[in-house]
């Protein structure tokens, strides 16, 4: 049986984990969407920016968290460093899907919009973003589910979250502790995935 004190800690660390993911995703989407839109307008920036996001993705997460510790301002021990690393990981799928979604809008539809006298802003908000929304949302969905998993490593640098259980469980060879971290993390991932799929169905425009 699970002792009552563990329930309380599960609730607290799940909450921490959730906030960690939420803040990271808000920043990643807040930066990734405008950057992705910028990439559709400036082809010359695509290679360097996507290249950077790609490289970030290839660095093993534990190593990236470790690298960040000695860096001033963004680094150190704690949540801020963890969030910075999680944002770097989440950026690639959001960037790539925003770019692919907007570039994937039918050429004839975009040309009609321009030929009918839409301004650049109207083209973006009334045509490109609504039509690219499913692809963009899919990118945010992938990034969120991945981030929920990766965020367990935040505990290694004092970022808190469900990883605290996992690292403690490994250190003390206590599988109850490991499961106390792993199961809520998996549930969180499943729930958010389901949530996104509901949003996709609810707001599908085409």
């Amino acid at each position: 049986m699970i002792p009552p004190y563990l329930w309380q800690e599960i609730a607290q660390l799940t909450g921490e984990h959730f906030v960690l993911v939420l803040v990271s995703m808000a920043i990643a989407a807040g930066a990734g969407l405008p950057l992705g839109i910028l990439l559709t307008r400036r082809a010359s920036l695509r290679t360097p920016l996507l290249g950077f996001a790609n490289v970030m993705q290839t660095i093993p997460s534990l190593a990236l968290f470790g690298f960040l510790i000695p860096i001033p301002f963004i680094g150190g021990i704690g949540k801020r460093t963890a969030i910075f690393a999680l944002v770097l990981y989440a950026l690639l799928p959001i960037l790539r899907n925003t770019l692919a979604g907007i570039l994937g809008v039918d050429r004839a539809v975009r040309e009609s919009a321009i030929a009918m006298g839409m301004t650049g802003r109207q083209l973006l908000w009334e045509v490109e973003l609504p039509l690219a929304a499913p692809t963009i949302l899919a990118g945010i969905r992938i990034a969120t589910v991945t981030t929920i998993g990766t965020a367990t490593i935040a505990a290694a640098i004092g970022g808190g979250g469900l990883g605290v259980f996992i690292f403690r469980g490994i250190a003390s060879v206590d599988s109850t502790q490991i499961l106390a971290g792993a199961i809520p993390a998996a549930l969180l991932a499943l729930l958010s995935d389901g949530g996104f799929s509901w949003i996709e169905r609810r707001f599908s425009v085409v």
Binding site: D106, R107, A108, V109, E111, S112, A113, I114, A115, M116, G117, M118, T119, Q122, V127, P130, L131, V205, V206
Partner: protein
């Protein structure tokens, strides 16, 4: 300046609705259009006829500023497209393309009412206008207003495309092979509709096609383009007698 002033039946003081003045277009070292000059008088229909790659679509896109000449000028109401406010220019020119390009996430009503909405018409006026237009192109407003483009056949979609182009009472209409993807029966129906609308509304039009039959049916004048050059500018009856090799090649398809 090969064809300068060659527009036919010009009234002495009439100002052309549209003029190409020594227009050339080059991209990556290849010449798409070379020294193209012609005028269209108000209310007339010029058909740009030519093979694929002859430059006719390029010429069309210069009228509403989707492209600009490398040299020369395109003048709409005697004003170069480079001097127009592009947004205003485009909103006053109807544009119909083969792929139709309806907005898949807009209803038929929203598609047709787009340019009036961009121009700030009142919702009441837009609704009335949209119903009138759908009626004009032979679609029942009650049945079609709230449907989406994917629910329509190719012919119905192109009717909506024509209605959308007419919506804001444009001063010019551009057609880029609009009926090319339709079956022969629907094509003729839409051509008839085009003729009927044109005669009633008297809007200056440019119509791009590679089908000489369609060209002869719809035009006031035919401009034959070959490798970016204007080969012939003639009325349909005179075009039938043209002896140039490209004109013969097209006429032999009749």
């Amino acid at each position: 300046m090969a064809f300068r002033g060659k527009s036919l039946d010009r009234g002495l003081n009439a100002q052309p609705a549209l003029e190409f003045r020594g227009v050339s277009y080059r991209i990556n070292g290849s010449i798409i259009l070379e020294n193209l000059s012609f005028c269209i008088d108000p209310g007339r229909t010029l058909v740009l006829l030519g093979r694929s790659g002859s430059g006719k679509t390029t010429a069309l896109k210069m009228v509403n500023g989707l492209l600009f000449p490398s040299s020369g000028q395109v003048l709409v109401e005697s004003r170069a497209t480079s001097d127009w406010d592009l947004i205003q220019l485009r909103r006053s020119i109807g544009y119909v393309i083969q792929e139709v390009g309806l907005f898949p996430h807009f209803t038929i009503g929203e598609n047709v009412g787009l340019v009036p909405r961009l121009n700030g018409w009142t919702p009441h006026r837009i609704t009335a206008r949209v119903a009138e237009l759908l009626h004009q192109v032979g679609l029942d407003p009650v049945r079609f207003l709230n449907r989406y483009p994917r629910e329509l056949s190719g012919g119905q979609r192109q009717r909506v495309g024509v209605a959308r182009a007419l919506a804001a009472e444009p001063k010019l209409l551009l057609f880029d092979e609009p009926f090319g993807a339709l079956d022969p029966v629907t094509r003729v129906e839409l051509q008839d509709q085009f003729l009927e609308l044109r005669d009633r509304l008297q809007i200056t039009s440019i119509f791009v096609t590679h089908d000489v039959r369609e060209a002869l049916r719809l035009c006031s004048e035919i401009a034959l383009l070959h490798r970016g050059k204007l080969e012939i500018l003639a009325k349909p009856a005179d075009f039938m007698d043209c002896q140039g090799p490209e004109a013969r090649a097209f006429l032999s398809t009749l």
